[in-house]
Amino acid sequence: MSDITANTPALPSSPPRSAPLTAVGPIAWLRANLFSGWLSTAVTLALGYLIVRAVMGFVDWAFINAIWSVPISPTGVAQTQACRDLHGSGACWAVVTEKHRFMLFGTYPYEQHWRPAIVCLLFVALYIVSSMRRFWNWTLIPIWIGTLTTIGILMWGGILGLPYVPQERWGGLPITLILATFGLALAFPLSILVALGRRSSLPAIKVLCVLYVELIRGVPLISLLFMASVMFPLFLPEGMNIDKLLRAQIAITLFAGAYLAEVVRGGLQALPKGQYEAADAMGLSYWQKTGFIILPQALRLVIPPLVNTFIGFFKDTSLVLIIGIFDLLTAGKTAIVEPSWQGFGVEVYVFVGLIYLCFCFAMSKYSQGLEAELNRHRRR
């Protein structure tokens, strides 16, 4: 007992230990994230090789071997023989150089293309303003009304010295943005009403809302678009006819309304019951309770899934291709119908895809950022 004193080492013969492996710095990062074991090393090496091969192949195809423009014969036919001689080893971006105005703006009069271009910029500006939290109040309503009126004036023309352009000649990106924006702007209020109706205590209203949501969600959007294009004319009295674009717009709005209603309902359900009861106890009427207490909190809860649904509908507007409305994708598909450009679908779809990607990626990043910001109070 007495031979253990305060100075006795715990392990008498322990050799001095070597310094620990670095846990910071690039080498440690590489060791932890890329070469943490023999399996990880093997996967890293194999994937690295494949990525280098794929990137080099893509660069070869898209840039090094690519042809950016082709001569146009005096008769206006493009000489695409140089592109065909590549046999797929290089991209023929000439189709994009040649046809980008057509793909973006469709059959809109060529010398008036600045008008749809400004319309697209206005839409983008509208989205940016709407996404800023500073504007999340009543000022958004006049901003939307003003912008949409300006867009209408620019697209139709006929006043302020702008030549009139009939709706049949609109096409390309403006159509996609119009379908998506108006569809969502109309579907959102509808969806709030339906979601409230679905949670209502009044049986008839509840049944109507459940029927609407479940019927719409059970069928594909295509069947609704077909309905809009072939059945809708039968629904209206003789002599009354609604434009094809508007019919598709109605179908998209009804479809989006059902899906958004389910998202909003999720927010209504997630709200603690105490909020409803407290509002009742304050003696608020149903609409006061809903407008001042429930909706502001419930909608805030569901903003991220709402933006995800918006992304979905932005993509789904491309389905109007099937009923022959001239949106961005239809314009892209039509651009390669011309015999001299046949067979260059990949380049066109890459171009159109990049435009969709820009919009959807921005929305998706915005939604992620918003989610992080709104959940800040939950994090410790």
Partner: protein
């Protein structure tokens, strides 16, 4: 809460208020509002309906489903059951439904595997693996499905002709007429082996159940895998051997301008399947990732502390808890894939939408044609959601 309900004061029902015929009574208000809403919607529907009836009369469009028994006269390129253009519209529509199911079922199975793999890859500790998976998910989800389908179809059409067909593996040909793969010449012995395999799975399940019951009784774990291999693999092989072990492969070969023999996959079906699977897999990957992340880290640590091996940890602790989170969104992804298969009409694969659309163009009976499309999809959607709800209820957390 249980205290409150046990208290006799709370068990007493509030006295019933008599209904007063006044706007101040909320029950009266409710009834008035309901009558108003139902009346408005009912009259709108009635107005649309009367317009429709009038228009049908004026345009002399026949109504009813009598056309189903008429000769269709529309050619269908691929069908699971025998079909001739001289068959009825009804049979053509059945072919369409089967084609839809063919792409939906195969697509759901493949998308589940691919999506799960990508979702797990996104959680990998390897930086490269997780970043590639994240890139895939981001890009695939941000492009319209229709664009992707057209892209794949363009690639299919850009493949060389049958004479210059690509041959990545011996016997597999890729050309613009579709894929050709070797097929087994099907004989009764194969059917018997398949039946034996199913029987083996059922027997294994029964054996596993009894082994578990015995383990519950005496605490001794019993090995299941030797019996499982013997039953699921051994039994079919034995049956096949007993019945003469037929093994004749039908290799595709180039004859003239096209291929003969083997099994063929049309370019339309291939493009649709690839597009649907890669697209839906991007969404399923996110569902799987969220599900795995939802399992508390403490559960992993507790399982490790109990001395479970990695496989057991995943199978017994993590997966059952993750599945509860995964199943509901997975259901909606399956439903979406099925509904998205209707985009087949854009690339010329003859699914129910495409065939019903041709039917309504030929007969002019738009309402019936669209009703058929909607009915088919509602039935499929309801079946999938009923099955998944049943499965969800089975694995849901059993609380007191």
């Amino acid at each position: 809460m249980s205290d409150a309900t046990a208290d006799p004061r709370f068990r007493r029902k509030p006295p019933k208020r008599p209904i007063r015929l006044s706007w101040a009574d909320e029950r009266i208000r409710g009834i008035v509002w309901q009558i108003l809403v139902v009346g408005i919607i009912g009259s709108i529907i009635w107005w649309l309906w009367s317009n429709t009836v009038h228009n049908l009369e004026v345009r002399r469009i026949a109504t009813g489903f009598g056309f189903l028994n008429r000769e269709a006269g529309l050619p269908i390129a691929e069908s699971l059951i025998s079909y001739e253009p001289t068959d009825t519209y009804f049979r053509a529509l059945v072919v369409g439904v089967l084609n839809t199911l063919k792409v939906a079922v195969v697509g759901i199975v493949l998308a589940t595997f691919l999506g799960t793999a990508i979702g797990i890859a996104r959680l990998s500790k390897n930086f490269l693996v997780s970043k590639i998976a994240a890139f895939y998910v981001e890009v695939i989800r941000d492009l319209p499905l229709l664009l992707q389908l057209l892209f794949w179809y363009t690639i299919m059409q850009g493949l060389p002709g049958p004479r210059q067909a690509m041959q990545p593996i011996e016997g597999v040909f890729l050309s613009n007429r579709g894929f050709k793969v070797p097929a087994l010449v099907w004989e009764p012995a194969h059917t018997a082996a398949l039946v034996a395999c199913i029987a083996g799975i059922v027997l294994t399940w029964l054996y596993a159940r009894s082994a578990r019951a015995k383990q519950m009784a005496d605490g001794q774990p019993r090995k299941i895998w030797p019996a499982a291999i013997a039953l699921i693999l051994g039994l079919p092989v034995l049956t096949w051997q007993v019945m003469g072990a037929p093994w004749q492969v039908d290799w595709p070969a180039l004859r003239g301008f096209n291929f003969r023999g083997g099994m063929s996959i049309s370019p339309e079906y291939a493009a649709l399947l690839i597009g649907l699977v890669t697209y839906t897999a991007g969404f399923i990957a996110e569902v799987v990732r969220a599900g795995i992340l939802s399992v508390n880290l403490g559960q992993w640590e507790a399982a490790q502390a109990l001395g479970l091996r990695h496989g057991q940890l995943l199978r017994l602790i993590v997966l059952p808890q993750a599945l509860r989170v995964i199943i509901p969104p997975m259901t909606s992804n399956y439903l979406n894939l099925t509904k998205n298969s209707s985009l087949a009409v854009a690339i010329g694969y003859q699914d129910i939408v495409s065939i019903a659309n041709t039917t309504l163009n030929q007969t002019g009976q738009a309402i019936e044609g669209i009703a058929i499309i909607m009915l088919v999809y509602l039935t499929i959607s309801l079946s999938i959601s009923l099955f998944m709800n049943w499965y969800n209820a089975k694995i849901a957390l059993v609380e007191r």
